[in-house]
Amino acid sequence: MTEPPAKELTVMLVDNEPARAAIVEQAMTDSGYRVIRRLENAKNLTEAVNQYQPDMVIIDIESPDRDMLENMSRLSQDNPRPIVMFAEEDDSRHVEAAIRAGVSAYVVDGVNSGSVKALLQVAIARFREFQALRSELESVKSQLEDRKLIDKAKGLIMKHQQCDEPAAYKALRKLAMDRSQRMTDVARNIISVMELMGDSK
C-alpha cells in the first residue's frame, strides 16, 4: 500500500480528549494531511506554535488556551507567522458548523482557504462522530442507572408489602402514573424515604 501524497498543509492538533484526538489525527493522516504535533496539554502553546510552525491549528473549542492563540494574530518580532481564527466572511456557515461541532481553527495568514476548508470538514466530521458516540454512551449509562434504581425500589416495596416482583412493579408504575412522574424519579423518592426511616437494605 502506498501512502497518500502529503498535501502542503501541516496541522497542529490541540485536544484534551486523547481518544478524540487520536481519531481526528488518523482521519487527517488518511486524507493526506500532515499532523506535525498533537498536544493534549496546551501548556506553552505559543512556544509550540512558534517552534513547529504549523499552517493550521485545530483546537477544541472548550480549551482554555484558545485565548493564547488569539494573541498571535499580529505580525511582530517574536511572531513572524501571525495566525488568525479561521473565519471567512463569505462562508460563515463553515465556521458555524465547526463551532457547533466543538472545533475551532486558526490558520496562518495567507494559507489557501480551499484546503483549510477541506481539512476543517475532516475535523468537524470526526468531532461530530465522537460527540454522537459519547452521547450514546451516556444514554446507555443512564439507562443502566435507571434500571438499578428501579430494581432497588422494587426490592424495598417487596420487602415492606410482602408482595412479589410483578406486584411491586405494578405499584411503582401506578405511583408514577398518578403523579405523572418518571418511574426513575418515583424509585429515587421511595429509596430516599426508606433511607430516612433507616431501612434501605
Binding site: E62, D65, E70, S73, M85
Partner: protein
C-alpha cells in the same frame, strides 16, 4: 453570503443560554440566577460556564449562546471584525467597573530595587524603564501576561508601560495566560508580571509570590470592565427577553454591591458550578480587606457593580476603546466612530428596560472636526481620559 435571513427568535418555552467566565465579575449573572431575579422577570436562564473569551465570542456570534458576560471591548471587536469574523454585537448594560491591577513577581521586584530611589519609582514603572535600558539587548525580554488581546488589561498594561517610555512591543513581550493560571505562571518564572482582575493580584501578594504595583483605576480612572453582550440580530428579534434580562441584572448588581449580602454572595460564587474556589480566595475581590503588603488600594479602585453611572452603557467608552485598538495596531480606520459607538453601546435599550426617560445627552459625540483625527489624537497622547474616569470625559 446567505440569503436566508437568520431566524433566532426564542420561543417562550426556550431557556435563555447565557455564557460566563468564572471570574469575580460574573457575580451579577450568578446572583440573578440563584436569587431568582431572572425568574422574577419571567426568564428561564441557563448559565453556561465557558473556558475562554474566544469561546464566549464565537458562541454568541453563532447563537450557541443567547448572550454573555463579556469584556467591554468584545462587542466592539466583534462588530468591527477585529481578530474574528465580523458579527454585529451590542450591549445595553454594563455589569462592572474597575478591578484590574498590575502585579510583578518577586524576582523582578527585587531587581527593581537597584534601579529606584523610592517605591514611587517602582510603582510608576520608572525603575522598570531603567532596568530594561540597562539590560543586554540579546537577553530574553521580560514577559508580561494579559488575559486576552482585546481587553482593558492589555490596553491598561500597554498604557502604563508606554507612559515611562517602554515600548510594549519591542522592550517587553506580552503574552496571554488564562486568569486561573496566572499565579502558577508567575511562580514558575514563565512570566515576570501581569495585568489581571481580582482576586489574582491580591492572591499573589497574600501568597508572597508577587508585588502589586498599580490598579487599573490609577491608570484610567473608573472605566467599564464587563458588559452583558448579545448579537445585534438576536437583540432585534428578542427585545422583550433582552430587556427582562437587563432588569434582572440591574437588581442583581444592587444585591451584589450590598455589603450585608457578602457572606451569601461569596458562598454562592465559591460553588464548583461557578468559581470553584474557597471563600477565603474570593473575599479580596469584594471587601475592603486586602492582604497585608506594601500597597494600599485606593477606595475607588474596587470593582463596582451598581448604580446608573456604572450600569448605563457609555458610548464614549466605545470611542476610547476603538482608539486603543488603533493605538496598538489592531484597528486601522473606522468610517464613522460615532455610528459604531452608538450601535454597539446602545443606551436607548437600557432606559427602555428600566422604564426611565431616555437621556438626550449626546455630548459624547465627536464633532465632525474631531472625529476624523480622533484615533490619532488618542494614540499620540493628545487626548487622555479624565483622571477620575470615563464619566468625566476626556482631557485635551
Amino acid at each position: 453570503m446567505s440569503l436566508i435571513k437568520e431566524n433566532i427568535l426564542l420561543l417562550p418555552s426556550d431557556p435563555v443560554r447565557i455564557g460566563f467566565i468564572p471570574l469575580i465579575d460574573c457575580a451579577p449573572f450568578v446572583i440573578a440566577k440563584e436569587k431568582g431575579f431572572f425568574a422574577h422577570e419571567g426568564v428561564d436562564v441557563v448559565l453556561s460556564k465557558e473556558a475562554s473569551w474566544a469561546s464566549i465570542r464565537d458562541k454568541v456570534a453563532f447563537n450557541v449562546l443567547d448572550g454573555a458576560h463579556m469584556l467591554a471591548s468584545m462587542p466592539i471587536a466583534a462588530t468591527l471584525g477585529i481578530g474574528t469574523i465580523k458579527k454585529a454585537m451590542q450591549t445595553s448594560f454594563t455589569v462592572s467597573h474597575n478591578g484590574n491591577g498590575i502585579t510583578i513577581g518577586n524576582a523582578l521586584y527585587d531587581e527593581l530595587q537597584h534601579y529606584s530611589d523610592s517605591s514611587a519609582d517602582i510603582r510608576s514603572g520608572a525603575a522598570l524603564k531603567k532596568l530594561i535600558d540597562s539590560r543586554d539587548h540579546q537577553a530574553v525580554p521580560l514577559r508580561f501576561a494579559i488575559v486576552y488581546p482585546y481587553s482593558s488589561h492589555n490596553y491598561q498594561l500597554r498604557d502604563w508601560l508606554s507612559r515611562v517610555g517602554i515600548d510594549p512591543d519591542k522592550d517587553v513581550q506580552i503574552t496571554v495566560v488564562p486568569p486561573v493560571k496566572m499565579l502558577d505562571a508567575l511562580k514558575s518564572g514563565e512570566i515576570d508580571g501581569y495585568c489581571v482582575g481580582e482576586p489574582w493580584n491580591s492572591l499573589a501578594v497574600e501568597q508572597g509570590v508577587g508585588h502589586m504595583l498599580v490598579t487599573g483605576y490609577e491608570i484610567w480612572g473608573s472605566t467599564p470592565e464587563k458588559v452583558f453582550g448579545v448579537s445585534s440580530v438576536w437583540a432585534e428579534q428578542n427585545e422583550p427577553v433582552h430587556l427582562a434580562i437587563i432588569r434582572a441584572l440591574e437588581k442583581a448588581c444592587a444585591w451584589v454591591d450590598e455589603s450585608a449580602n457578602q457572606p451569601e454572595l461569596l458562598s454562592i460564587l465559591s460553588h464548583p458550578d461557578y468559581l470553584n474556589s474557597t471563600v477565603e480566595q474570593l473575599v479580596y475581590g469584594f471587601s475592603a480587606i486586602k492582604p497585608k503588603g506594601q500597597f494600599d488600594w485606593p477606595m475607588e479602585a474596587y470593582q463596582r457593580f451598581s448604580g446608573s453611572e456604572i450600569n448605563k452603557p457609555l458610548p464614549s467608552y466605545a470611542l476610547w476603546i476603538m482608539a486603543q485598538m488603533h493605538r496598538w495596531q489592531q484597528l486601522e480606520e473606522v468610517p464613522s466612530l460615532n455610528d459604531v459607538a452608538e450601535q454597539v453601546y446602545r443606551k436607548d435599550l437600557y432606559y427602555k428596560a428600566l422604564g426611565l426617560d431616555m437621556d438626550d445627552d449626546d455630548s459624547w459625540r465627536l464633532s465632525s472636526g474631531i472625529e476624523p483625527n480622533w484615533l490619532e489624537a488618542v494614540s499620540s497622547g493628545d487626548v487622555r481620559l479624565h483622571s477620575e474616569g470615563i464619566l468625566k470625559g476626556f482631557n485635551e
